[in-house]
Symmetry: C2
Subunit: 168 residues, 2 copies
DNA sequence: ATATTATGTCAGTCTTGTTGACATTCCAAG
DNA sequence: CTTGGAATGTCAACAAGACTGACATAATAT
């Protein structure tokens, strides 16, 4: 399974990556991402929500009091798109939107009790799959997994990702 | 970066995975997948196509002559959904649909010259990102990356994934 | 002859992305 | 102090792409 590697003139590691290896990696991302989202998706559709609601809840849970602007930059969607899912979740009592103390244009977002409960359900099944995969793969594989994913992000996104909470 | 591991009574490896580590992995998947799709998405939207067209072209390219049924099972979408994108690509001369030789109910799908050219463009930018990530991460990380992704797939999907071409 | 399978089509709905227009709030330059 | 612009958030309309359900056609299997 280990790819062939050697050391180049600059001392950097060189990998001889065939198109086939790369395409296989592309397919692995596609199929794995489907598995990754499938368990929360089932719960969500029962409740009349979608993946967009899950993502919003995840990041509000991670950063309670986050502003709308910060959240839409994190999610990489337009404010209008985010606003739709926020509106329904606020109406349903999953999310609370408080006017900012310093700057009253801003809205600080929080999960309500009910919001936290649903987020916990979604997170539970998703973490369960992740945990199972990590256990089967082993610690070295997990480290490599994270390293490659981080190398695949856009640089600005990587900064945001690293800024988020303590490193796992 | 390496997680703490130890050996349990059955000899299996045990990982002590905190919720924080797992959530960080979830976020890594989310952000990395965005990067993973962003380059082809740009090309596609210029041409009036979407991610769905890319996925179909990818798998038709991988398995020339694949039937509609096999393709929709691979993609995990309904035939109506697949049919919409196939219809436009056939109309635009990117995909050819030939009546099956043995079983004339079946349609075998092929990329045309133009289809191959577009697929090559899309694949090129996606492979470039994957290659860069692999190079930066190194061979051991790549092996771990693939191992975890495979462990995250649904079992039936993993079978399909393994059946596809030679292993990278 | 009949049932089943493979495919394609039409119609309608839902989620979630988009742009455009607009209201509110804040801040800074006159 | 006022006024103009920037930042922020909301509403409306639209498009892509997923879904279900119903139905038609052709070929194969029983």
């Amino acid at each position: 399974m280990a790819e062939s590697g050697s050391v180049g003139p600059g001392g950097e590691r060189l990998l001889y990556l065939t198109d086939e290896q790369l395409r296989k990696g592309i397919e692995a991302m596609f199929f794995a991402y489907r598995g990754f989202t499938s368990d929360p998706d089932r719960i969500l559709s029962d409740q009349g929500y979608g993946r967009a609601h899950h993502r919003a809840m995840h990041f509000i849970n991670r950063s309670p009091g986050i502003t709308v602007n910060d959240l839409l930059n994190t999610l990489g969607v337009t404010k209008q798109s985010l606003n739709r899912v926020l509106r329904t979740m606020i109406a349903d009592g999953l999310v609370e939107s408080r006017v900012g103390c310093g700057d009253r244009r801003k809205r600080n977002l929080y999960l309500t009790e009910r919001g936290m409960a649903l987020e916990a359900d979604l997170s539970f099944v998703q973490r369960a799959r992740m945990r199972a995969a990590y256990r089967r793969a082993g610690p070295e594989a997990v480290a490599g997994f994270r390293t490659v994913l981080e190398a695949m992000m856009d640089p600005e996104v990587l900064v945001r990702y690293n800024a988020m909470k303590a490193k796992g």
